[in-house]
């Protein structure tokens, strides 16, 4: 949880808190930012951020991470306008009520013209997104004002420590979301 919290500290004082058994080994855990209430981000156009992850705590033989590690099982990252209209929703919720179980994104209706081919219900396929990538998007592309001067290094470090970063994907500093 600490890397995630460190990443969040780039844009907010709000913290992630786990579900009731969230520090124990086992499955079915979740953590949520700011108790699920909106995190208000400083930007030219103020934005709201919501973030929730579901995870298991499993044993690992990795000496650098062990004896326990967190294995993410799903997430919801929501970026809204200040009046609570969706801009972009990143979802991965296998086992939920949706038949679409792969990671995907929804572009908010507020960003689409009437009659567009894409709607807010469209599942845009995508690779697994980590929280640090969402924060990088907000700072680099949406003019969110970071709270700390070393945000690029912090997000890069956290991204490198994540499963996605550790698999050799592009570094957070150079994410283009192409």
């Amino acid at each position: 949880m600490e890397p995630l919290q460190r990443a969040a500290s780039c844009v907010t004082e709000s913290v992630f808190r786990p579900s009731v058994n969230g520090y124990r080994g086992g499955s079915g855990h979740a953590m949520i930012l700011n108790e699920g209430r909106p995190v208000r981000l400083r930007a030219a156009q103020p934005l709201l951020l919501f973030a929730q992850l579901e995870y298991d705590v499993v044993r690992t033989d990795d000496v650098d991470r062990g004896p326990w590690k967190v294995r993410t099982r799903g997430y919801r990252y929501h970026v809204l306008s200040a009046d609570e209209r969706e801009l972009v929703l990143y979802h991965w919720h296998p086992g939920s009520t949706s038949r679409y179980e792969d990671p995907h994104a929804h572009v908010g209706g507020s960003q689409l013209l009437h009659g567009a081919v894409l709607t807010g219900k469209t599942h845009l396929p995508g690779g697994r997104i980590v929280f640090e990538q969402v924060l990088t998007l907000l700072i680099r592309e949406c003019d969110v004002v970071p709270r700390r001067d070393d945000h690029a290094d912090v997000l890069d470090d956290c991204f490198q420590g994540s499963p996605s970063g550790g698999r050799g994907r592009r570094r957070a500093k150079g994410i283009t979301h192409g």
Partner: protein
């Protein structure tokens, strides 16, 4: 400069229930109990609307 936070308090069962109820009333205008019943009955199957997902993200905290 802000230092990174470390371990934070778990959300208790009671707190989770209150948060789920708060979200259900804010986003859908229904109570926690009504949301759980509708969710379990499949009324939100394939519903990825913002409002439903905003409430669903609190299910792991306030379902029990």
């Amino acid at each position: 400069m802000t230092s990174a936070a470390t371990t934070h308090d778990k959300i208790s069962v009671e707190e989770g229930r209150a948060l789920l109820d708060e979200a259900a009333r804010h986003w859908l205008g229904i109570s926690r109990e009504e949301f759980i019943a509708a969710w379990d009955a499949g009324h939100y199957r394939d519903d990825e609307s913002l409002a439903v997902q905003q409430v669903a993200m609190l299910l792991p905290f306030g379902r029990e």
